[in-house]
C-alpha cells in the first residue's frame, strides 16, 4: 500500500512507548502494533485525532504517501 504510517518515528521523537500510547488513546497494544507494522487496512478519523492529540502532531506527520508500482 502506498500509504505508510510513520508512527514509530513520532513515538521516538516524543520518547513514548507504544504501550503508553495504546493506553492513552484507548486501543489495545495489538491494534497499535497493527498500525505500526502497516498491517492495518485503515485508520479511523477519531483514532487519528486521538493519536495527534496525544503525540501533539498533525495527521501529515503520521501518514506519508510513497508512490510505487500500481497494484491490482
Amino acid at each position: 500500500m502506498p500509504i505508510v504510517v510513520e508512527l514509530d518515528v513520532m513515538l521516538a521523537r516524543r520518547k513514548m512507548r507504544s504501550k503508553e500510547l495504546a493506553e492513552r488513546i484507548g486501543l489495545s497494544e495489538q491494534q497499535v502494533s497493527m498500525l505500526r507494522s502497516g498491517r492495518a487496512r485503515g485508520v479511523r478519523f477519531d483514532t487519528l485525532a486521538r493519536i495527534c492529540e496525544v503525540l501533539d502532531c498533525q495527521p501529515g506527520d503520521l501518514l506519508i504517501h510513497r508512490a510505487g508500482p500500481p497494484q491490482d
Binding site: G26, S28, V32, M34, L35, A40, R41, G42, V43, R44
Partner: protein
C-alpha cells in the same frame, strides 16, 4: 460501550442457552435411539403403527425384516448424530466468544445441511420400509396419500432457514474480519 465489552456481554447472555442446547441435542440423539430400538423390537407395535400411518391390514414382520428396518432407521440416526456434533461445535465456537466468525457460520451451515439430509432420507426410506413390512405393493394409494407429512415441511423450512442464515452470517463474519483490520 466498546466492542470488546459488547462481545463479553453477548457471551455472558448466551452461555446457559448454549449449554441447554448442547444438553437437548445429546438428549434427543440418545432418546431417539432408544425409541427406535424399542419400536423395532416389538413386532405387534410395528404392525399396529404402520397400519395406523399408512393404512391396510397390520401384518407381523419377522425378525429379519424388523432388523433391516432398524438398520435403515439407524442410517437416519447417523445423520442426526452428525447434526448433534455440528451443534456441539457451533455452541463451542459461541462459548469461546467466536460468535461472528466464519468457523461458527460453517458449523451452523452443517447443522442445516445435516438436518435437511436427515429429513430427506427419512422421506425417501418410507416406501422402502413400507415394502419391507407389507406384502402388498409399496406405492399403493393408502401409502401415497400419507407418504409426506406436514411436519416434513416444517423440518424443511426450519433447517433450510438455518442453512440460509448460515450463509448470511458467513458473509457478515468475513465483513467483521475486514472491519477488525481498521483501527
Amino acid at each position: 460501550m466498546p466492542a470488546i465489552d459488547k462481545q463479553t456481554a453477548l457471551r455472558a447472555r448466551i452461555v446457559w442457552p448454549c449449554r441447554a442446547i448442547r444438553a437437548a441435542a445429546i438428549g434427543y440423539a440418545a432418546w431417539s435411539l432408544l425409541r427406535v430400538g424399542a419400536f423395532w423390537a416389538d413386532a405387534e407395535f410395528v404392525a399396529r403403527a404402520f397400519s395406523g400411518w399408512y393404512g391396510g391390514e397390520p401384518a407381523l414382520a419377522d425378525g429379519l425384516r424388523r432388523a433391516a428396518g432398524f438398520g435403515l432407521s439407524l442410517a437416519i440416526w447417523a445423520l442426526v448424530i452428525g447434526g448433534v456434533v455440528a451443534v456441539w461445535r457451533l455452541t463451542g465456537h459461541y462459548l469461546a466468544g467466536r460468535v461472528f466468525s466464519v468457523d461458527a457460520s460453517v458449523a451452523l451451515k452443517r447443522v442445516g445441511q445435516l438436518g435437511l439430509a436427515a429429513a430427506a432420507l427419512d422421506i425417501a426410506l418410507r416406501p422402502v420400509i413400507r415394502a419391507l413390512l407389507s406384502p402388498g405393493p409399496a406405492l399403493d394409494p393408502h401409502f401415497l396419500a400419507r407418504w409426506v407429512r406436514p411436519e416434513d415441511l416444517l423440518y424443511a423450512a426450519v433447517f433450510g432457514a438455518l442453512w440460509v442464515l448460515a450463509h448470511v452470517l458467513e458473509s457478515a463474519a468475513s465483513l467483521s474480519d475486514e472491519v477488525e483490520q481498521f483501527v
